[in-house]
Amino acid sequence: MQLKTTIECGAGASRAQGKIARRRLIAASCALLGATAARSQDATNSAADSLSDAWAFDSALAYYHESGRVKAIEPIVNMSKTYGDGRTFSGQVVFDSLSGSSPNGALTSTKVQTFASPSGKSLSAAPTTYTTSSGQLVSESAPIYTINPGQLPVDPSYHDQRLSVSGNWGLPITRLTQTQVGGKLSYEHDFVSVSANAGISRDFNEKNTTLSFQLNNEFDRLSPIGGAPVAASDYALFQKGGGKTKDGVGAMLGLTQVMNRRWLTEFNLSVDRFKGYLNDPYKIISVIDSAGDTTGYLYERRPGTRTRKVAYWENKAAWGRLVLDGSLRYMADSWHVRSDTAEFSVRWWNFDRDRYIEPTVRWYRQSAANFYTPWLDSTGSKYIDYASADARLAAFHAYTVGLKYGAKIEDSEDQTSSEFNVRVEYYQQTLDNRLAGPGSLQGLDLYPGLKAILVQVGYKF
């Protein structure tokens, strides 16, 4: 189609004879431009905001601090894009930097305890020589750290950085059916994880019901510093092999239902199974005699498979300027860990709907893995089937309280909006089923809980 147009200011008026609106509009435009055309140019040249039209970015900087322990700084960038034909892409980049102290699994003692730091780069650099499980003589500067009586043994040189990149592509097949594939790569200096997922979802009932199914596959490679310890081996013997692997498969079935204009409910069932080297290569267990003295340490040993089943139910409801979100989660695994999570948040918008505050409470409890033990008894056999003193496998309960504040910044030209938000969370964990220690351990706090603060600053655009 090719057309020519030649119009001068005011020329349209005669053609639009009788068309009041057009005449008035032309008059108004000419008045506006005539009035301002003579005005001289203002010297202010502001840097233009070149916001990307089609991409939405969501970035955040998180600061996580466990009381006396690990600090993490975690910049997150989320991206999403919706193409004209309905395809979608979303991606996330996270960079974690964790530093501080991490419990090594050993028990608090009345004596000074000395450990070699596997993760550490330095402390005192006393050269030691030892024989590996393969018979090689190895000499290295083993960083040593000492823990005073009454203190929980933590490796003070814990330092790790994690880069994780993930992407998800959505592709509509028909008006009601959508497929999705995604992948994730996570890299740490001693851990690499690659996973892929694929799923399909279908809308029913005039798009009020969505049923989805997804499969995941994950492959992990561990390359702990100094090699992965032989499970249940004596800490003093440095029996370490090379790298280890584990892999997992999982499936998830989801149902989303629009109950009415203000209420959305979502129900998910998932199952996954991991096999391979599931130990934490840096966690050990104290061996205690009847007097309460530590006679040695063993590396932990966990079963070679773990199967988890999770049920999750979430409800979202809008009520005036309030958005309520409540969820329940139940998890059971083949290590006999059972956990329950309940979470509730309320987002409260101001009248202009450009700012909100969102208080959150979360309550969590879990039972211990059937091989969890805070220590091993030296009078028993040194051979153990499975044992771990990792507090993450203990029975504990925890609560989180948080507050988020968000403010929208809107761009009138583009009808896009960006959001700035700050989130502060306080987490407190308390170990349950506290067994009193024998002999000298009585009176020591063997089960220190965990307190952590998370501060996150985010910007979405």
Binding site: L3, I7, G10, L25, C30, L32, S50, G84, R353
Partner: protein, 305 residues
Amino acid sequence: MPATNPAPDPALKLEERGADLLAVCFSAMASSCELLLPAADRGVALELGAVAAGEARRIEAKFSRYRDDSVVAEIHRSRGAGAGIELDPETASLLDFARECFELSGGLFDITSGVLRGAWKFDGSDRVPTAEAVAALLPLIGFDKLRWQSPRLWLPAGMELDFGGIGKEYAVDRAFHLVAAVREAPFLVNFGGDLRANRPTPRGPWQVGVERPDSDRQAAMVLELERGALTTSGDARRFLIKDGVRYGHILDPRSGWPVHAAPRSVTVAASTCTEAGLLSTLAMLQGAGAEAFLEDQGVMHWLLR
């Protein structure tokens, strides 16, 4: 003016578009902007580009809704003040223009309707606001609710002004005038698809491709423009879909809800960008009546459903 502003602007990009056509590109008002100059010297092109970019950014800074130092922010801070606020001549003439548009469109075009953004987020999702949320905003909409006695404005509490609906077109016309004041030879100012040319190129009329609103960078048609302005309004990528119903981003300020059966895009030719932009926006707001409206106006137009 170029002579007094010789410093090269690092945000300007000079591109050669085929034989003998220079484009000075920059971004402003969340759009790609360009000044097209056939048979121009590179130095002159950069100087004229700086003039156009400077004006675009001045208008953006002055009328931006999210800058604390903008006139709009100052107006919003004056809300509820007994003495109102005295506006500078440029802002006053824009407000006069906005009142004219409000009146001649029977309230369809309203620079106080920006508060609706509090309820509507056109992000391609299904988050359609509740009727209550939309209704709660309606008392804050209506140019007739504010008191405007040039140069003094009284803006009631809770209300907002948004020059977004006319700002870009106005900026094209302003930049056009500034460049035209120092250049006789042909040029075309294009701010994100709203454009204006002073005369045909030495090789004939300007060839203007108008994108289909629903596909990326695929020109649906090529228009030939000798002089004058072309603007396009559309709801291409800004919509919500819920229960199979598409909610376009053209909102009727009187109801607070999207206009039913709005065209996908409307392109209008007129002598100025301001006029063309108003006509294309008003046509969108007519919904199913867009064609009839444009026929009535006797205006050259191209419409996509």
